[in-house]
């Protein structure tokens, strides 16, 4: 059990790791571009949903202090900028809700789309339904559910989720208002 033995152990483990690493590198080379493309397509398609007239999106640095706002994109149509798309992450019943909010140059909501959430299936996940999300279209200012004195009809049995989405929309509107 001398240095030679340990040298052998090290060598074998090194060889196995090296072969695995090489294979992983090969697989990564094949898949990398596709994965990046798939991810970009997902974000862009979500942004297209909330701002259908836009043809391209440009990243726009967010310098505000609202922790709910993750990113802001400048939406460009055929004749220059037509508004912003804000990515916000309010906290719902089961953790963060990733959603994008489209805001027109006039400061009104053009659409709300949820990218991912871990809300209770059958209750909170009803926030994905058009009937709930479309309530926000055309709104500006602070958004709240009717229970809190606002105008948004909460999803039955999922007040917490409804509140979180309203809060996200409010943050997005404020972030855009602070830009101009």
């Amino acid at each position: 059990m001398g240095a030679k033995y340990f040298g052998k152990l090290t060598l074998i483990l090194f060889l196995i790791s090296a072969v695995v690493a090489a294979l992983l590198g090969a697989v990564n080379a094949i898949t990398e571009s596709r994965i990046i493309a798939a991810k970009r397509e997902k974000t862009v398609s979500a942004m297209k949903v909330v701002m259908p007239e836009a043809s391209s999106f440009e990243e726009f640095g967010y310098k505000g202090k609202d922790p709910l706002v993750a990113e802001i994109y400048l939406a460009k149509g055929s004749s220059g900028s037509i508004g912003y798309v804000v990515k916000v992450t309010p906290t719902g019943f089961g953790g963060a809700i990733d959603m994008v909010v489209g805001v027109s140059s006039a400061g009104k909501v053009t659409g709300v789309s949820i990218i991912s959430m871990s809300e209770t299936p059958g209750l909170g996940t009803n926030a994905l339904k058009d009937s709930f999300r479309e309530q926000f279209v055309g709104k500006s200012g602070t958004q709240a559910v009717t229970k809190d004195g606002g105008k948004i009809n909460a999803i039955t049995g999922a007040t917490v989720t409804s509140r979180a989405v309203s809060k996200g929309v409010t943050s997005a509107l404020e972030a855009v208002a602070a830009l101009s």
């Binding site: 019943f93 209750l123 039955t156 049995g157 917490v160």
Partner: protein
């Protein structure tokens, strides 16, 4: 075994009490009747109909499971009826009639019989069923205001009644409910079918204590804990006393403390253990009411404490004379 003198020779115990399971359960049913009567007065005969469906379903599943598994029948001990009544008592009066039937299946077959039947379950069947029935959260939170029925005899139209905010919803938001303390005490408030009338539940509790069916230790420890914490830490801008009183009389506290936390099978047997159990229930109830996402925490508080009963019993077991003084978890019952 009779000898020549006609006297009976039998092994101990020689002191006999007429308290069999059946008599105890009958007493509990009698104690629940005032609350049921109040519920019928407040919500109409639909309350009675839901309770009857629930009891019938519980009895049917109790009988059916034991018949199917070829086990001795004990459906005559009335424990299934008590489970049925208690489960119905924590449902809103508007539930469709199939809901208590599914609840009865879960309570009797899954929670009670699969673990060996009466005396062997580790969770209160009625409360476990209520937790399970939250699979239908929309149906389980359709509350109606008191006296909002179109006719007291209407037992089919209940589901269309206007939904209303419950006192628990108000308390959860840090506000006082829209009812006087007296109304809350008598039961003229929204809430589950059998939980609304604190007065009638207390009457039933007094009957049980008087008949020595339950000891007042668990209910007192439970209710006092809630009272003390809510008095010391009122929420919102409410004044202490009324905040405490609403917290005691609204929601399922009285029903849970008197009838559910005292279930023999799922509560500790030692005196000290019962007090610890009651305080634990009270603490968890207030914590859920204050910080949880649900407005009411009685059922979950009791279910959580149900799972600690073995531990409490073991920790509070009286020391046998001459036995080892120190508590040893691994040693178990000494």
């Amino acid at each position: 075994m009779e000898n020549k003198l006609g006297t009976v020779v039998s092994p101990s115990p020689h002191l006999r009490s007429p308290a069999g399971t059946r008599n105890i359960m009958l007493d509990v049913i009698i104690a629940l009747v005032p609350a049921l009567a109040a519920s019928v007065y407040i919500f109409g005969f639909r309350a009675l109909a839901v309770t009857l469906v629930s009891c019938a379903a519980c009895v049917f599943f109790e009988w059916g499971y034991r018949a199917l598994m070829k086990k001795p029948q004990n459906v005559g001990d009335l424990s299934a009826v008590v489970t049925g009544m208690l489960m119905a008592f924590c449902l809103p009066v508007t539930v469709p009639y199939w809901l208590p039937v599914i609840g009865a299946f879960f309570a009797i077959v899954i929670v009670k019989q699969l673990f060996g039947g009466i005396g062997k379950n580790f969770l209160n069947p009625a409360l476990a069923a209520r937790a399970f029935l939250f699979s239908w959260p929309v149906l389980m939170t359709k509350w109606v205001a008191p006296f909002s029925y179109s006719s007291i005899m209407n037992i089919f139209g209940g589901a269309d009644a206007i939904t209303s905010a419950t006192p628990m919803g108000a308390l959860h938001a840090g506000l006082l409910p829209n009812a006087t303390v007296a109304q809350a005490f008598l039961g003229e408030i929204g809430g589950s079918l059998g939980e609304v009338s604190a007065l009638m539940l207390l009457l039933g509790g007094a009957y049980l204590v008087f008949h020595k069916v339950i000891s007042p230790r668990i209910p007192l420890a439970y209710i006092l804990t809630v009272a003390v914490i809510t008095y010391i830490f009122p929420k919102g801008e409410a004044d202490r006393l009324s905040w405490m009183l609403y917290n005691l009389f609204c929601g399922g506290l009285m029903l849970g403390a008197i009838f559910m936390a005292t279930d023999y099978t799922t509560s500790p047997i030692t005196k000290l253990g019962q007090i610890i159990f009651g305080i634990g229930c009270g603490l968890i109830t207030v914590l859920i009411r204050y910080f949880g996402t649900y407005p009411e925490g009685v059922s979950y508080a009791i279910l959580v404490m149900n799972t600690t009963v073995w531990l409490i019993d073991r920790a509070t077991l009286p020391r046998r004379f001459g036995g080892k003084p120190k508590f040893d978890l691994k040693g178990g019952a000494r």
